[in-house]
Each structure stands twice: as structure tokens, then as C-alpha cells.
Symmetry: C2
């Protein structure tokens, strides 16, 4: 089945960026969107990416080949029951998979569910931040338990993304705690620690400070939802992260130079192993 009619539910940063890229690269697609926020809807109009911009899922017709849930995780789960029969395939793009997949398996009887997660984003959200190149070179994660049809893999490749499979929702969420959700908290903790007025730190800061604390500027609403949806894995990661900080502190307190060195070398080894795997691609 070739994809002909696609509905983006949510025309914010992710939905808008998909709209921009698909409308230019797959012009034969009939591409619509649903956007419930009036201001976002007006902004999304200016993208000239969508044929119709519906106010609500119920306003859109029921014969799409693919509906893409491009909304935060809580909204995605709430919308699922209202999508039954709306589209042949339903794909989400949420940053946490287990609660979405559980809801999909329970609610989407007869509709084929494609849980997915593009590793792309920006500090700024909304349709005005949409960018045709947002997914270029980025991993787009699928689950081996819910393999998409070739047409959907093709669509993701046309967006410029790199298709990656992980075993299942839980495996996805654990890896996300380690490469994304925990990493965001590491950045937040680095911004929180210290007693000096940040304006005075800025006077003397080099790239290390700006790079490591960059993510602390992210909007908190998205992160609260994400952290709570992936609570167990994030808690486990944080416990290991605290243990690492404590190990450094204890080694310094004991003037245990060899201990500090072992920790630094182990961190370097892990980072270099990741870098080597990245470069090999």
C-alpha cells in the first residue's frame, strides 16, 4: 500500500517540520494536520505545508493511510481512543515509549500501531520553529515488537533520518534515560550547583560551561511530562549519576589520586567507545 493521505496530529515543531519536509519532498502526498491551539494553527498556516488544518481530530475525515501523533506523551495517550478507524496506520513520535505502546496495544484494535521516536528537537517549540532539515542525519527509532511497513520506513528516510531499531518499549526507555532524559538532568544539575551569581559566572565562562548547561534552558512543561513518563529508568540513572559524583568527591577528600584517575579514565573510555561507534557509521 503506497501512502497517499497523511494526517499530522499536532503542527508544532515536530509536526510542522514533518509537514515542511514532506510537502516539499513528497509533493504527491495529500498532507493534512490537526492543531487544536488557535495561535499555533495560524502560525502553521504560514508554513504552506498542509492542505487542510483541522481544529480537532473529529473534524478530519476518516480515510487516512497514516496518522502521525506529533504531540506530547500525555496528549498522545488521551487522543488514541479517538483515532480508532481514522487511519490505516497510527504512528507516534513521543520521547517515551512504554506508556504509549501500552495504550496503543489496548486501544487501537484493528488499527496498526507504529510507535516511533525521532531524536530531534530544539529548545524552542511551535510551528514557527519548524525546520525542513530538523531530522537530517538523526536517528528515528522503531521497536522490533512493532515493525513499520516499508512505506513508513521510506517516509522517515525521505525526512533525512536514519532508521534504528531497538528491541522493545522498555529497552527504548532505558536507553533514553541514558542518552537524553538523564543527560538533560545532568545539565540542569550543573546549572543548579554553585553559589555564585550566574551573571558573574558568565564573565569568566568558556565553552565548557555554555555547552554543558545549554539544556537547562529547555521549557519545563515538556520535561516534566517526559521525566514522569519514564520515571523508573530516570530514577535508576540518577542514582548511578549521584554515585559517580560521590565517588569523585570521596576520592578528592581522601587525596586518592589513583582513585580520581580511575574515574576519569573510565569516563574517557566510555565516551571514546561511544564516539568510535558513532564514527564507524
Amino acid at each position: 500500500m503506497a501512502l497517499k493521505r497523511v494526517l499530522c496530529i499536532g503542527a508544532g515543531l515536530i509536526g510542522g517540520s514533518m509537514g515542511l519536509a514532506l510537502s516539499r519532498r513528497m509533493p504527491h502526498l495529500e498532507l493534512d494536520a490537526v492543531e487544536v491551539d488557535a495561535a499555533y494553527r495560524e502560525q502553521a498556516m504560514t508554513l504552506s505545508a498542509f492542505r487542510h488544518l483541522w481544529h480537532a481530530v473529529e473534524s478530519a475525515p476518516a480515510d487516512y493511510d497514516l496518522a502521525v501523533l506529533a504531540v506530547p506523551v500525555e496528549a498522545a495517550i488521551q487522543l488514541l481512543p479517538r483515532l480508532r478507524g481514522k487511519a490505516h496506520w497510527v504512528m507516534d513520535v513521543c520521547s517515551v515509549k512504554r506508556p504509549v505502546v501500552e495504550a496503543m496495544d489496548r486501544l487501537l484494535a484493528g488499527t496498526r500501531a507504529v510507535p516511533s521516536h525521532p531524536m530531534a528537537g530544539k529548545a524552542q517549540g511551535g510551528p514557527l520553529a519548524a525546520d525542513e532539515a530538523l531530522f537530517e542525519g538523526r536517528p528515528w527509532i522503531f521497536l522490533k515488537t512493532h515493525r513499520p511497513p516499508g512505506e513508513i520506513e521510506d517516509l522517515v528516510v525521505r525526512l533525512g533520518a536514519r532508521v534504528v531499531y531497538v528491541d522493545d518499549a522498555d529497552e527504548h526507555d532505558r536507553r533514553m534515560a541514558e542518552v537524553s532524559h538523564g543527560i538533560h538532568l545532568a545539565s540542569q544539575c550543573a546549572a543548579l550547583a554553585g553559589q555564585t551569581d550566574p551573571a558573574m559566572l558568565a564573565e569568566v565562562a568558556g565553552p565548557a560551561f555554555w555547552d554543558v548547561t545549554r539544556l537547562a534552558a529547555s521549557p519545563s512543561e515538556f520535561w516534566i511530562q517526559t521525566l514522569e513518563a519514564n520515571r523508573d529508568h530516570v530514577i535508576a540513572w540518577l542514582a548511578q549519576f549521584e554515585a559517580a559524583a560521590r565517588a569523585f568527591r570521596t576520592a578528592l577528600e581522601r587525596k586518592d589520586t589513583a582513585g580520581v584517575q580511575i574515574l576519569l579514565e573510565e569516563a574517557r573510555r566510555r565516551r571514546e567507545r561511544a564516539e568510535a561507534a558513532r564514527t564507524k557509521k
Copy 2:
């Protein structure tokens, strides 16, 4: 007194970069270097930045206007007694100031000491990594207790750096724990936490992971010296950093959404305050 004769002690990344920039931008300077490492010395030759490259401080003549100690903090302290009378001014560029300033005040009787710290570096060290633009736009920190003469301020400005003053060595070291040394450890801890093979993390990692863990690839020798030289402030920073991680974990464990939000918002406020101060410049 105009600077005419300058000696860089150490022709690695910092000394080599100063050499490249000064030899091109202040060609009237008579610029020499000391480099004890034979391989580094050969590499430094290829920079064509220095008139003479001495094997040891003792080989160099004794009538320099300025000697720049561009070596790690332990080596800098060991070299100080051997610099008496070697130059009118002695400036160091070490990343920790208190132990260097104590040694300067004790040992450099009759020689004018200029403790300083350029906020510039690279993961890769050595003369081959030297870069004329290394200091461009970067803070170059001096202490109000040891103000340099105008000629040295001018030299730093010619390197492209931005002159910044902090009150004293202790104030410098506390700020460095917060913008640099602690930040490096935050990056190390982020690389250490997690149980997944880093090669598998690389498959799904986005820019957040690569940016925040980037510093973990730094060479450990430099960092051991730096962390130990600034032990007290780094330990204090780590304790606050651990407390921040624990606060996030506890709030998540208690399903305390408001608590998570307060932490996220406080981190964002601090990061934005730093960013606003940076942009104002």
C-alpha cells in the same frame, strides 16, 4: 616599559598558540620559548613562531621583559624558584590560582608576578594543536590583588582575549570550580552513569548526549592536577551537584510534580541569567 623580549616557558597548546599569534601580530617582539620535551620542541619548530627554542630555563638568557609560564600548575610551581631574575615580569596561565599565587608571593622577590588565566583550551594538547585564534573572544582573567601593567593587558588584547578581573586567587578558584572544573566532572559523571554499552547508546544519541559528555574525552593527567590543585572548591561544588541530583530523584520517587517543576524552573532561571549577562557584553 614597552615589552620587547618575551619568553614562553612551555611551547604546548597555550604557549604555541601565544607564539603563533604574537609572532604574527606583534612582529617587533623578540619571542623565545623553553620546551623541555624533545618531541614537543621539534613540533614547536614547525610553528615558526619562536626565535630560539631553549631546552631548559637555565639555557635561556636572563634579560627578558616578560616570561610566560605556559605549563601545568605543578610544573609552574616547581619552575618558579628557577625564574628569579630571569625576567622583569613573570606571568602564569594556570587554571588554578591559589597555589601559584602563594608560590609567586613567596618565591619571586624582586620579580613582578602576574597571575593570569586565559579561558581557552582544546581536548588535544601539544604544539601541533596550537592555533593563532585560540584566545579570540575568550576571557583572560587577572586578579585585582596582582594587577598587570598596561603593556601586558595590551598583549592579551592583541591575542584577541577579553580582559576580566576577579578579586583574588580564592575568588578565581571558586568561580573556576563552578564554570569549569565542576562542569568537567558533570560531563564525566554523565558519561559514567548508565548500564548500556556506550556503542549502543551511540546508535540512538542526539546532540544532547554528545554535547554534555564531550568533556569526558579530555586527557586525565591535566584534570587530575587541576582538580587536586582546586580540591576544596571542587569538593564543595560536587556536594551541591549531588544534592541537586538527589533532589530530582527524590521528587520523582515521591511523584512530586511540583517539586520537579521548581527544580527545572530554578535551573532554567540560573542558565538564563547567565545567558542574559553574556549577551549584554
